[in-house]
Protein backbone atom coordinates (compact mmCIF):
# COMPACT_ATOMS: atom_id res chain seq x y z
CA UNK A 1 0.00 0.00 0.00
CA UNK A 2 2.70 2.43 0.91
CA UNK A 3 4.28 1.85 -2.45
CA UNK A 4 1.02 2.79 -4.13
CA UNK A 5 0.67 5.77 -1.83
CA UNK A 6 4.11 6.92 -2.80
CA UNK A 7 3.29 6.42 -6.42
CA UNK A 8 0.11 8.42 -6.39
CA UNK A 9 1.78 11.32 -4.69
CA UNK A 10 4.76 11.14 -6.95
CA UNK A 11 3.41 14.08 -8.80
CA UNK A 12 6.49 14.42 -10.95
CA UNK A 13 4.62 12.33 -13.46
CA UNK A 14 1.80 14.83 -13.39
CA UNK A 15 4.26 17.68 -13.66
CA UNK A 16 5.96 16.06 -16.64
CA UNK A 17 2.87 16.35 -18.74
CA UNK A 18 1.92 19.72 -17.41
CA UNK A 19 1.79 21.47 -20.76
CA UNK A 20 -0.86 19.28 -22.37
CA UNK A 21 -2.71 19.11 -19.08
CA UNK A 22 -2.63 22.89 -18.93
CA UNK A 23 -4.04 23.00 -22.46
CA UNK A 24 -6.80 20.73 -21.28
CA UNK A 25 -7.60 23.10 -18.46
CA UNK A 26 -7.85 25.95 -20.96
CA UNK A 27 -10.49 23.94 -22.74
CA UNK A 28 -12.44 23.58 -19.52
CA UNK A 29 -12.28 27.33 -19.13
CA UNK A 30 -13.44 27.91 -22.71
CA UNK A 31 -16.38 25.55 -22.39
CA UNK A 32 -17.22 27.25 -19.12
CA UNK A 33 -17.19 30.76 -20.60
CA UNK A 34 -19.33 29.88 -23.61
CA UNK A 35 -21.77 27.78 -21.61
CA UNK A 36 -22.05 30.57 -19.03
CA UNK A 37 -23.07 33.03 -21.73
CA UNK A 38 -25.70 30.63 -23.04
CA UNK A 39 -26.96 29.87 -19.55
CA UNK A 40 -27.28 33.55 -18.61
CA UNK A 41 -29.07 34.66 -21.75
CA UNK A 42 -31.40 31.69 -22.10
CA UNK A 43 -31.99 31.73 -18.34
CA UNK A 44 -32.97 35.39 -18.40
CA UNK A 45 -35.32 34.73 -21.28
CA UNK A 46 -36.94 31.83 -19.47
CA UNK A 47 -37.36 33.90 -16.30
CA UNK A 48 -39.05 36.69 -18.27
CA UNK A 49 -41.35 34.15 -19.83
CA UNK A 50 -42.27 32.80 -16.42
CA UNK A 51 -43.45 36.18 -15.14
CA UNK A 52 -45.11 37.24 -18.37
CA UNK A 53 -48.72 38.40 -18.54
CA UNK A 54 -49.70 35.75 -21.06
CA UNK A 55 -50.36 32.22 -19.88
CA UNK A 56 -48.77 30.41 -22.88
CA UNK A 57 -45.52 32.26 -22.21
CA UNK A 58 -45.63 31.29 -18.56
CA UNK A 59 -46.27 27.66 -19.46
CA UNK A 60 -43.35 27.59 -21.89
CA UNK A 61 -41.07 29.21 -19.33
CA UNK A 62 -42.04 26.80 -16.59
CA UNK A 63 -41.64 23.77 -18.87
CA UNK A 64 -38.20 24.96 -19.90
CA UNK A 65 -37.06 25.44 -16.34
CA UNK A 66 -38.45 22.16 -15.04
CA UNK A 67 -37.08 20.24 -17.99
CA UNK A 68 -33.53 21.49 -17.68
CA UNK A 69 -33.25 21.83 -13.93
CA UNK A 70 -34.16 18.19 -13.43
CA UNK A 71 -31.99 16.79 -16.21
CA UNK A 72 -28.65 15.12 -15.41
CA UNK A 73 -25.76 16.89 -17.15
CA UNK A 74 -24.36 13.71 -18.66
CA UNK A 75 -27.53 12.49 -20.31
CA UNK A 76 -28.11 15.96 -21.74
CA UNK A 77 -24.58 16.00 -23.07
CA UNK A 78 -25.00 12.65 -24.77
CA UNK A 79 -28.43 13.57 -26.10
CA UNK A 80 -27.32 16.90 -27.58
CA UNK A 81 -24.28 15.30 -29.16
CA UNK A 82 -25.91 12.19 -30.62
CA UNK A 83 -29.64 12.82 -31.00
CA UNK A 84 -30.00 16.52 -31.75
CA UNK A 85 -27.87 16.48 -34.92
CA UNK A 86 -29.98 13.64 -36.29
CA UNK A 87 -33.21 15.49 -35.55
CA UNK A 88 -31.95 18.65 -37.19
CA UNK A 89 -30.69 16.58 -40.09
CA UNK A 90 -34.15 15.11 -40.56
CA UNK A 91 -35.66 18.57 -40.76
CA UNK A 92 -33.19 20.12 -43.19
CA UNK A 93 -32.57 16.87 -45.03
CA UNK A 94 -28.82 16.95 -44.69
CA UNK A 95 -26.34 15.14 -42.56
CA UNK A 96 -25.50 17.16 -39.50
CA UNK A 97 -22.78 16.58 -36.95
CA UNK A 98 -21.94 18.68 -33.96
CA UNK A 99 -18.40 19.42 -33.00
CA UNK A 100 -18.05 18.10 -29.43
CA UNK A 101 -17.23 21.59 -28.15
CA UNK A 102 -20.51 22.88 -29.55
CA UNK A 103 -22.49 20.03 -28.02
CA UNK A 104 -20.85 20.64 -24.66
CA UNK A 105 -21.65 24.35 -24.71
CA UNK A 106 -25.26 23.78 -25.76
CA UNK A 107 -25.89 20.97 -23.28
CA UNK A 108 -24.32 22.59 -20.23
CA UNK A 109 -25.58 26.02 -21.22
CA UNK A 110 -29.18 24.86 -21.39
CA UNK A 111 -29.04 22.76 -18.23
CA UNK A 112 -27.68 25.71 -16.27
CA UNK A 113 -30.11 28.09 -17.90
CA UNK A 114 -32.69 26.32 -15.79
CA UNK A 115 -30.86 27.15 -12.56
CA UNK A 116 -30.17 30.73 -13.59
CA UNK A 117 -33.78 31.21 -14.60
CA UNK A 118 -34.91 30.31 -11.11
CA UNK A 119 -32.37 32.65 -9.55
CA UNK A 120 -33.49 35.50 -11.83
CA UNK A 121 -37.14 34.83 -11.10
CA UNK A 122 -36.61 34.85 -7.33
CA UNK A 123 -34.76 38.13 -7.67
CA UNK A 124 -37.45 39.69 -9.82
CA UNK A 125 -40.26 38.72 -7.51
CA UNK A 126 -38.43 40.28 -4.58
CA UNK A 127 -38.59 43.72 -6.14
CA UNK A 128 -41.33 45.82 -4.52
CA UNK A 129 -44.25 46.49 -6.82
CA UNK A 130 -44.03 50.17 -5.92
CA UNK A 131 -40.74 50.52 -7.74
CA UNK A 132 -42.43 49.38 -10.94
CA UNK A 133 -45.51 51.56 -10.32
CA UNK A 134 -43.28 54.59 -10.00
CA UNK A 135 -41.62 53.72 -13.29
CA UNK A 136 -44.94 53.35 -15.06
CA UNK A 137 -46.27 56.55 -13.49
CA UNK A 138 -43.36 58.40 -15.03
CA UNK A 139 -44.22 57.04 -18.44
CA UNK A 140 -41.42 54.50 -18.69
CA UNK A 141 -42.03 51.67 -21.12
CA UNK A 142 -41.99 48.10 -19.83
CA UNK A 143 -38.67 47.52 -21.57
CA UNK A 144 -37.15 50.59 -19.93
CA UNK A 145 -38.44 49.46 -16.56
CA UNK A 146 -36.92 46.04 -17.09
CA UNK A 147 -33.46 47.26 -18.01
CA UNK A 148 -33.17 50.31 -15.73
CA UNK A 149 -35.08 49.26 -12.63
CA UNK A 150 -35.68 45.51 -12.49
CA UNK A 151 -32.48 43.96 -13.79
CA UNK A 152 -29.98 46.18 -11.94
CA UNK A 153 -31.68 45.25 -8.69
CA UNK A 154 -31.93 41.57 -9.62
CA UNK A 155 -28.22 41.40 -10.41
CA UNK A 156 -27.29 43.06 -7.14
CA UNK A 157 -29.50 40.76 -5.14
CA UNK A 158 -28.64 37.47 -6.82
CA UNK A 159 -24.91 37.98 -7.35
CA UNK A 160 -23.84 35.59 -4.54
CA UNK A 161 -26.09 32.86 -5.81
CA UNK A 162 -24.96 33.47 -9.39
CA UNK A 163 -21.34 33.08 -8.32
CA UNK A 164 -22.15 29.71 -6.78
CA UNK A 165 -23.84 28.63 -9.99
CA UNK A 166 -20.82 29.66 -12.03
CA UNK A 167 -18.55 27.57 -9.83
CA UNK A 168 -20.94 24.67 -10.18
CA UNK A 169 -20.87 25.08 -13.94
CA UNK A 170 -17.12 25.06 -13.98
CA UNK A 171 -17.10 21.80 -12.05
CA UNK A 172 -19.61 20.39 -14.50
CA UNK A 173 -17.29 21.03 -17.45
CA UNK A 174 -15.20 18.07 -16.34
CA UNK A 175 -17.63 15.68 -18.02
CA UNK A 176 -17.04 17.01 -21.50
CA UNK A 177 -14.13 14.62 -21.81
CA UNK A 178 -16.75 11.92 -22.26
CA UNK A 179 -17.66 13.23 -25.69
CA UNK A 180 -14.03 13.72 -26.65
CA UNK A 181 -13.58 17.39 -25.92
CA UNK A 182 -9.85 17.62 -25.19
CA UNK A 183 -10.13 19.00 -21.66
CA UNK A 184 -8.00 18.14 -18.66
CA UNK A 185 -9.61 14.77 -17.90
CA UNK A 186 -9.50 13.79 -21.55
CA UNK A 187 -5.80 14.52 -21.75
CA UNK A 188 -5.28 12.68 -18.47
CA UNK A 189 -6.89 9.57 -19.92
CA UNK A 190 -4.82 9.91 -23.10
CA UNK A 191 -1.65 10.07 -21.06
CA UNK A 192 -2.73 7.12 -18.95
CA UNK A 193 -3.29 5.04 -22.04
CA UNK A 194 0.25 5.81 -23.11
CA UNK A 195 2.04 5.69 -19.80
CA UNK A 196 -0.09 3.26 -17.84
CA UNK A 197 0.44 5.25 -14.66
CA UNK A 198 -3.00 6.18 -13.48
CA UNK A 199 -2.27 6.93 -9.84
CA UNK A 200 -0.30 10.12 -9.98
CA UNK A 201 -2.36 11.42 -12.85
CA UNK A 202 -5.78 10.96 -11.30
CA UNK A 203 -4.49 12.19 -7.97
CA UNK A 204 -2.89 15.16 -9.65
CA UNK A 205 -6.11 15.96 -11.48
CA UNK A 206 -8.11 15.75 -8.27
CA UNK A 207 -5.65 18.02 -6.46
CA UNK A 208 -5.54 20.53 -9.30
CA UNK A 209 -9.30 20.86 -9.48
CA UNK A 210 -9.56 20.95 -5.73
CA UNK A 211 -7.09 23.82 -5.46
CA UNK A 212 -8.71 25.81 -8.24
CA UNK A 213 -12.26 25.34 -6.98
CA UNK A 214 -11.21 25.93 -3.40
CA UNK A 215 -9.60 29.21 -4.35
CA UNK A 216 -12.64 30.24 -6.38
CA UNK A 217 -15.23 29.36 -3.78
CA UNK A 218 -13.32 30.89 -0.89
CA UNK A 219 -13.07 34.12 -2.85
CA UNK A 220 -16.72 33.90 -3.77
CA UNK A 221 -17.69 33.34 -0.15
CA UNK A 222 -15.65 36.25 1.16
CA UNK A 223 -16.93 38.49 -1.62
CA UNK A 224 -20.55 37.48 -1.04
CA UNK A 225 -20.27 38.26 2.67
CA UNK A 226 -19.02 41.75 1.91
CA UNK A 227 -21.52 42.18 -0.92
CA UNK A 228 -24.53 41.26 1.19
CA UNK A 229 -23.49 43.79 3.79
CA UNK A 230 -23.01 46.43 1.18
CA UNK A 231 -26.43 46.08 -0.37
CA UNK A 232 -28.17 46.00 2.99
CA UNK A 233 -26.79 49.41 3.89
Amino acid sequence: MSNALKQSFDLSAFWEYRSILWQGLIFNALVFLCAACVALSVGLGAALFRINRFLPARVVGTLHVELFRNAPDYIMLVWVHFVLPILIGLVIRRRVEFHPFVSAVIALGFVYSGYFAEAFRAGMQAIPQGNLDAGRAFGMSERLILWRITLPQVVRRMLPEALNLFISLFKATTIVSLIAVPDLMYNVSMVIQQEMRPLPLYTGAALTYFLIIFALSSTARAFSERWRQKIQA
Binding site: N70, W79, S177, P198, A205
Partner: protein, 223 residues
Protein backbone atom coordinates in the same frame (compact mmCIF):
# COMPACT_ATOMS: atom_id res chain seq x y z
CA UNK B 1 -43.42 5.60 -34.53
CA UNK B 2 -43.20 1.87 -34.29
CA UNK B 3 -39.59 2.44 -33.40
CA UNK B 4 -40.57 3.48 -29.92
CA UNK B 5 -42.25 0.19 -29.37
CA UNK B 6 -39.43 -1.85 -30.79
CA UNK B 7 -36.57 0.01 -29.24
CA UNK B 8 -37.90 1.18 -25.92
CA UNK B 9 -40.99 -0.71 -24.86
CA UNK B 10 -39.68 -4.09 -25.85
CA UNK B 11 -36.41 -3.38 -24.13
CA UNK B 12 -38.03 -2.19 -20.97
CA UNK B 13 -36.63 -5.07 -18.96
CA UNK B 14 -33.13 -4.00 -19.81
CA UNK B 15 -33.90 -0.41 -18.95
CA UNK B 16 -35.67 -1.25 -15.73
CA UNK B 17 -32.78 -3.45 -14.65
CA UNK B 18 -30.53 -0.46 -15.15
CA UNK B 19 -32.97 1.77 -13.29
CA UNK B 20 -32.93 -0.66 -10.36
CA UNK B 21 -29.16 -0.43 -10.19
CA UNK B 22 -29.38 3.34 -10.33
CA UNK B 23 -31.78 3.38 -7.40
CA UNK B 24 -29.56 1.03 -5.44
CA UNK B 25 -26.48 3.14 -5.95
CA UNK B 26 -28.32 6.33 -5.13
CA UNK B 27 -29.98 4.96 -2.03
CA UNK B 28 -26.75 3.69 -0.52
CA UNK B 29 -24.94 6.89 -1.47
CA UNK B 30 -27.72 8.89 0.16
CA UNK B 31 -27.37 7.06 3.45
CA UNK B 32 -23.59 7.45 3.32
CA UNK B 33 -24.03 11.14 2.61
CA UNK B 34 -26.28 11.73 5.60
CA UNK B 35 -24.23 9.70 8.04
CA UNK B 36 -20.95 11.01 6.70
CA UNK B 37 -22.20 14.57 6.69
CA UNK B 38 -23.39 14.23 10.25
CA UNK B 39 -20.09 12.80 11.44
CA UNK B 40 -18.04 15.43 9.66
CA UNK B 41 -20.26 18.21 10.97
CA UNK B 42 -20.19 17.03 14.58
CA UNK B 43 -16.46 16.38 14.40
CA UNK B 44 -15.87 19.87 13.11
CA UNK B 45 -18.01 21.55 15.73
CA UNK B 46 -17.48 19.47 18.82
CA UNK B 47 -14.34 17.34 18.58
CA UNK B 48 -11.53 19.88 18.92
CA UNK B 49 -8.55 17.77 17.76
CA UNK B 50 -10.44 16.65 14.64
CA UNK B 51 -11.59 20.12 13.69
CA UNK B 52 -9.12 20.88 10.94
CA UNK B 53 -9.18 17.34 9.56
CA UNK B 54 -12.94 17.64 9.25
CA UNK B 55 -12.71 21.07 7.61
CA UNK B 56 -10.19 19.87 5.05
CA UNK B 57 -12.23 16.77 4.24
CA UNK B 58 -15.43 18.78 3.90
CA UNK B 59 -13.79 21.26 1.55
CA UNK B 60 -12.12 18.50 -0.44
CA UNK B 61 -15.31 16.52 -0.97
CA UNK B 62 -17.27 19.62 -1.90
CA UNK B 63 -14.79 21.29 -4.19
CA UNK B 64 -13.65 18.34 -6.27
CA UNK B 65 -15.86 17.77 -9.31
CA UNK B 66 -17.83 14.57 -8.99
CA UNK B 67 -16.42 13.04 -12.15
CA UNK B 68 -12.85 13.58 -11.02
CA UNK B 69 -13.66 12.25 -7.58
CA UNK B 70 -15.29 9.18 -9.10
CA UNK B 71 -12.26 8.31 -11.19
CA UNK B 72 -9.99 8.89 -8.28
CA UNK B 73 -11.98 6.68 -5.91
CA UNK B 74 -12.45 3.98 -8.55
CA UNK B 75 -8.88 3.73 -9.81
CA UNK B 76 -6.55 5.12 -7.17
CA UNK B 77 -8.13 4.05 -3.91
CA UNK B 78 -8.05 0.30 -4.61
CA UNK B 79 -4.28 0.52 -5.10
CA UNK B 80 -3.62 2.76 -2.15
CA UNK B 81 -6.22 1.71 0.42
CA UNK B 82 -7.12 -1.73 -0.80
CA UNK B 83 -10.74 -0.89 -1.26
CA UNK B 84 -13.23 -0.37 -2.93
CA UNK B 85 -12.98 -3.75 -4.55
CA UNK B 86 -15.62 -3.31 -7.16
CA UNK B 87 -16.94 -0.48 -9.21
CA UNK B 88 -20.42 -0.56 -7.74
CA UNK B 89 -18.93 0.23 -4.33
CA UNK B 90 -16.69 2.87 -5.84
CA UNK B 91 -19.81 4.44 -7.33
CA UNK B 92 -21.84 4.87 -4.19
CA UNK B 93 -18.76 5.73 -2.17
CA UNK B 94 -17.75 8.62 -4.41
CA UNK B 95 -21.31 9.92 -4.68
CA UNK B 96 -21.82 9.61 -0.96
CA UNK B 97 -18.59 11.36 -0.03
CA UNK B 98 -19.23 14.29 -2.32
CA UNK B 99 -22.71 14.84 -0.91
CA UNK B 100 -21.52 14.33 2.65
CA UNK B 101 -19.40 17.44 2.20
CA UNK B 102 -22.43 19.49 1.22
CA UNK B 103 -24.63 18.05 3.93
CA UNK B 104 -21.98 18.66 6.58
CA UNK B 105 -22.23 22.35 5.82
CA UNK B 106 -26.02 22.21 5.71
CA UNK B 107 -26.12 20.58 9.13
CA UNK B 108 -23.66 23.10 10.48
CA UNK B 109 -25.81 25.99 9.31
CA UNK B 110 -28.81 24.27 10.85
CA UNK B 111 -27.11 23.75 14.18
CA UNK B 112 -25.83 27.29 14.31
CA UNK B 113 -29.28 28.47 13.41
CA UNK B 114 -30.94 27.09 16.49
CA UNK B 115 -31.34 30.04 18.86
CA UNK B 116 -28.88 29.93 21.70
CA UNK B 117 -31.64 30.54 24.23
CA UNK B 118 -33.01 27.08 23.61
CA UNK B 119 -29.74 25.49 24.59
CA UNK B 120 -29.59 27.63 27.70
CA UNK B 121 -33.10 26.61 28.63
CA UNK B 122 -32.18 22.96 28.28
CA UNK B 123 -29.05 23.32 30.43
CA UNK B 124 -31.03 25.19 33.03
CA UNK B 125 -33.42 22.28 33.16
CA UNK B 126 -30.50 20.01 33.92
CA UNK B 127 -30.00 18.38 30.51
CA UNK B 128 -26.50 17.30 29.56
CA UNK B 129 -24.89 18.67 26.39
CA UNK B 130 -25.40 15.34 24.64
CA UNK B 131 -29.04 15.21 25.65
CA UNK B 132 -29.51 18.77 24.50
CA UNK B 133 -28.01 17.96 21.17
CA UNK B 134 -30.13 14.89 20.81
CA UNK B 135 -33.51 16.16 22.02
CA UNK B 136 -33.46 19.88 21.32
CA UNK B 137 -31.01 20.75 18.60
CA UNK B 138 -30.97 17.88 16.15
CA UNK B 139 -34.72 17.52 15.68
CA UNK B 140 -34.86 21.17 14.64
CA UNK B 141 -31.86 20.75 12.40
CA UNK B 142 -33.57 17.79 10.78
CA UNK B 143 -36.63 19.92 10.05
CA UNK B 144 -34.78 22.91 8.69
CA UNK B 145 -32.39 20.78 6.64
CA UNK B 146 -35.09 18.65 5.10
CA UNK B 147 -35.33 20.63 1.84
CA UNK B 148 -31.55 20.64 1.39
CA UNK B 149 -31.39 16.93 2.10
CA UNK B 150 -33.99 16.19 -0.54
CA UNK B 151 -32.16 18.48 -2.92
CA UNK B 152 -28.93 16.62 -2.28
CA UNK B 153 -30.71 13.37 -3.19
CA UNK B 154 -31.65 14.84 -6.55
CA UNK B 155 -28.01 15.83 -7.00
CA UNK B 156 -26.98 12.25 -6.26
CA UNK B 157 -29.46 10.89 -8.79
CA UNK B 158 -28.28 13.31 -11.45
CA UNK B 159 -24.61 12.57 -10.77
CA UNK B 160 -25.23 8.83 -10.72
CA UNK B 161 -25.33 8.90 -14.50
CA UNK B 162 -21.54 9.08 -14.36
CA UNK B 163 -21.09 5.69 -12.72
CA UNK B 164 -21.79 4.24 -16.15
CA UNK B 165 -18.28 5.42 -17.03
CA UNK B 166 -16.80 3.05 -14.48
CA UNK B 167 -18.89 0.23 -15.93
CA UNK B 168 -21.61 0.07 -13.30
CA UNK B 169 -24.71 -1.28 -15.12
CA UNK B 170 -27.03 1.60 -14.27
CA UNK B 171 -29.79 3.05 -16.43
CA UNK B 172 -27.40 5.28 -18.37
CA UNK B 173 -25.09 2.41 -19.10
CA UNK B 174 -27.92 0.09 -20.16
CA UNK B 175 -29.31 2.65 -22.57
CA UNK B 176 -25.87 3.15 -24.06
CA UNK B 177 -25.57 -0.61 -24.52
CA UNK B 178 -28.89 -0.63 -26.36
CA UNK B 179 -27.73 2.20 -28.60
CA UNK B 180 -24.60 0.27 -29.41
CA UNK B 181 -26.64 -2.79 -30.31
CA UNK B 182 -29.37 -1.10 -32.35
CA UNK B 183 -27.52 1.94 -33.72
CA UNK B 184 -30.65 4.07 -33.31
CA UNK B 185 -30.06 6.58 -30.57
CA UNK B 186 -33.08 8.87 -30.88
CA UNK B 187 -35.80 6.90 -29.14
CA UNK B 188 -33.59 5.16 -26.62
CA UNK B 189 -31.70 8.23 -25.44
CA UNK B 190 -34.79 10.43 -25.43
CA UNK B 191 -36.67 7.88 -23.38
CA UNK B 192 -33.76 7.57 -20.97
CA UNK B 193 -33.48 11.32 -20.60
CA UNK B 194 -37.21 11.49 -20.04
CA UNK B 195 -37.03 8.83 -17.37
CA UNK B 196 -34.32 10.62 -15.45
CA UNK B 197 -36.06 13.98 -15.73
CA UNK B 198 -39.37 12.53 -14.58
CA UNK B 199 -37.74 10.73 -11.70
CA UNK B 200 -35.86 13.79 -10.46
CA UNK B 201 -38.96 15.92 -10.93
CA UNK B 202 -41.02 13.53 -8.82
CA UNK B 203 -38.43 13.56 -6.07
CA UNK B 204 -38.35 17.36 -5.95
CA UNK B 205 -42.13 17.51 -5.98
CA UNK B 206 -42.35 15.06 -3.10
CA UNK B 207 -39.71 17.03 -1.27
CA UNK B 208 -41.63 20.24 -1.71
CA UNK B 209 -44.84 18.65 -0.47
CA UNK B 210 -43.10 17.24 2.57
CA UNK B 211 -41.48 20.60 3.28
CA UNK B 212 -44.85 22.36 3.05
CA UNK B 213 -46.48 19.82 5.33
CA UNK B 214 -43.67 20.14 7.85
CA UNK B 215 -43.91 23.89 7.75
CA UNK B 216 -47.62 23.72 8.42
CA UNK B 217 -47.26 21.38 11.35
CA UNK B 218 -44.26 22.91 12.98
CA UNK B 219 -44.38 26.48 11.75
CA UNK B 220 -40.65 26.55 11.21
CA UNK B 221 -39.15 28.53 8.38
CA UNK B 222 -37.85 25.62 6.31
CA UNK B 223 -35.94 27.54 3.66
Amino acid sequence: MGNWERLVWNQRDVLFAGFAVTIEVCAIAFVVAILGGLMLCLARLYVAPLRWVAIVLIEFFRDTPIFVQLMWVAYVWPEVFGFPNDFFTAGWLALGLQSSGYLAETFRAGIEGVPRGQREAAFSAGMSPVQTLQRVVMPQVALSSAPSIVNQFTVIVKSSTLVSVITVPDLMSQSQKLVNVWYEPIEILTATAGLYIAFVFLISLTGKLIADRLRQRFGLAAS
